[in-house]
């Protein structure tokens, strides 16, 4: 009479069960933080893509929601950084004299490059980042940078080495 075995193990997680069971929960979690549904839907898709691409085997995931939230948080921060970059970019575009405004395709290309570089520079201390930008974009010499930042030329050189190393360690 006792031969019906009741398994105490939850059924093994797969990407499709993870997606089916948690997607709408994750989307509403994201929506509360973003304030709109379409960005939340985008970010939730991205979150699942990251999970799919990550090394962690889905089947062994203990707390799927906690894991999704960890990944989702990281994407949220990136999302806000992209936003603030776009905003600064649009304001800079609006400030250009009309004759200097690049064509629409050009605007996109520039924005894409800016986003990639912005991500690349992320995590650098503010002064290092600024010194590096002055050197790369404005072609300023170390002496000028040192004067502007009120530090020694030797420090500027150290900043540059730090920035280059940071960038070279990331895959371009």
């Amino acid at each position: 009479m006792n031969d019906a075995v009741v398994s105490t193990h939850a059924p093994e997680l797969t990407l499709s069960s993870l997606y089916r069971d948690h997607r709408s929960w994750l989307e509403s979690w994201l929506r509360r933080r973003l304030g709109n549904a379409w960005d939340a839907a985008d970010l939730s898709q991205d979150t699942f893509l990251r999970v799919l691409a990550s090394a962690q085997p889905i089947a062994q995931m203990q707390e799927p929601r906690a894991y999704l939230v960890t990944v989702g948080k990281r994407l949220l921060v990136n999302f806000h950084q992209r936003r603030s970059l776009e905003q600064a970019y649009l304001q800079a575009l609006a400030n250009l004299p009309e004759a200097c405004v690049p064509s629409p395709e050009q605007r996109w290309l520039v924005l894409e490059t800016l986003q990639a570089l912005d991500e690349l520079l992320d995590g650098l201390p503010v002064l290092v980042r600024r010194a590096f930008l002055w050197s790369q974009l404005e072609g300023l010499g170390y002496r000028e940078i040192a004067e502007r930042l009120d530090v020694s030329e030797r420090t500027v050189k150290r900043y540059m080495a730090q920035a280059y190393e940071h960038c070279l360690l990331v895959d371009l």
């Binding site: 933080r33 999302f79 600064a88 400030n95 690049p102 924005l111 974009l137 070279l168």
Partner: protein, 302 residues
């Protein structure tokens, strides 16, 4: 290896590298294929930077950063308002028949209408235009409408609507209400309670939730933005800067002691940096710019 390459790059760009250094670098690059590969990667990086339009890239990448922790806090906080979607496509020219038009901070636009009139948008303004219905909705900001023709156009604001024909009018919408200034002709105003009143050329009146306020005569130079000019006549510096701020993205601050200095002059709105420089030199002030978007005015030390 990245560290070694980075040290080389920093040395080369310092301008202090000797011939001996160059030879040593060449040796380093030749000594291992991965050294050369890292070196090439660095060159690619430099090219990506140098291919960018300088001013745009600098303003975008060197924007005032709230810092990672603040970003994280904001990212994880519950959004209080639906944030405006910042889409580049909204910046592109749009057909005028039925369109949502808007200007960014510091931008102004003039849109010719089919009947010889024209619509001008001041800084940070959004309107919906429906020419088939002859209706313009002022969502936010300030517009000027010059209509020589007899067919009326309706301008809808949050506080009521205006019927404009053979007239020149300017409407600025703010949180507390609109300011309606009629330059030429006459404009019919219908408030939210359905009360109708007429404003004549030379009259200016507030339109609020409670209706149209009493009119006063006004000075046309207040509306100089239509010609791209900001005019001040013996105006308090604080008032002038608050007005100027509308045209500048970013943060503009000044010492409280400067509030009541007097300003007189006409300034081109195209270049607000130049206005600030002019003010600084005529009033003996010092401009401190942390970045282009973070400017502080203070008394010059002498």
């Amino acid at each position: 290896m990245a560290r070694a390459a980075a040290q080389w790059l920093a040395l080369l760009e310092s301008g202090a590298a000797t011939e001996h250094d160059h030879a040593a670098l060449q040796h380093w690059r030749d000594s291992h294929p991965q050294h050369e590969q890292t070196w090439q990667k660095a060159q690619t990086l430099r090219q990506r930077f140098s291919a960018l339009p300088q001013a745009l890239a600098m303003a975008s990448l060197d924007r005032p950063q709230p810092g990672r922790r603040a970003v994280l806090k904001r990212a994880l906080g519950i959004a209080a308002l639906v944030p405006t979607a910042w889409l580049v496509s909204r910046q592109l020219p749009i057909e005028v028949w039925r369109a949502d038009l808007h200007t960014a901070t510091g931008e102004r636009k003039r849109i010719p209408l089919d009947d010889g009139g024209n619509l001008q948008l001041n800084t940070a303004t959004a309107v919906d235009v429906d020419l088939a219905q002859r209706r313009i909705t002022l969502v936010d900001g300030e517009l000027a409408l010059n209509l020589p023709g007899a067919t009326a156009m309706t301008v809808q604001t949050r506080y009521g609507e205006l019927s404009v024909s053979q007239a020149d009018v300017c409407i600025r919408q703010q949180a507390a209400g609109c300011l309606v200034s009629v330059l030429k002709g006459a404009v019919q105003v219908r408030d939210r309670n359905g009360q109708v009143a007429t404003l004549q050329g030379g009259q200016q009146a507030p339109l609020k939730a409670g209706g149209l306020g009493a009119w006063v005569p006004f000075d046309v130079s207040q509306l100089g933005w239509r010609d791209g000019v900001l005019t001040a006549q013996n105006q308090a510096l604080g008032d002038f800067l608050r007005e100027l701020e509308r045209y500048r993205p970013g943060v503009l601050r000044w010492e409280p002691s400067l509030e009541n200095l007097r300003v007189t002059g006409s300034f081109r709105l195209d270049d607000t940096d130049r206005i600030l420089n002019l003010l600084a030199s005529t009033l003996g002030l010092e401009l401190q710019a942390r970045t282009r978007y973070w400017v502080t005015l203070r008394k010059a030390m002498s």
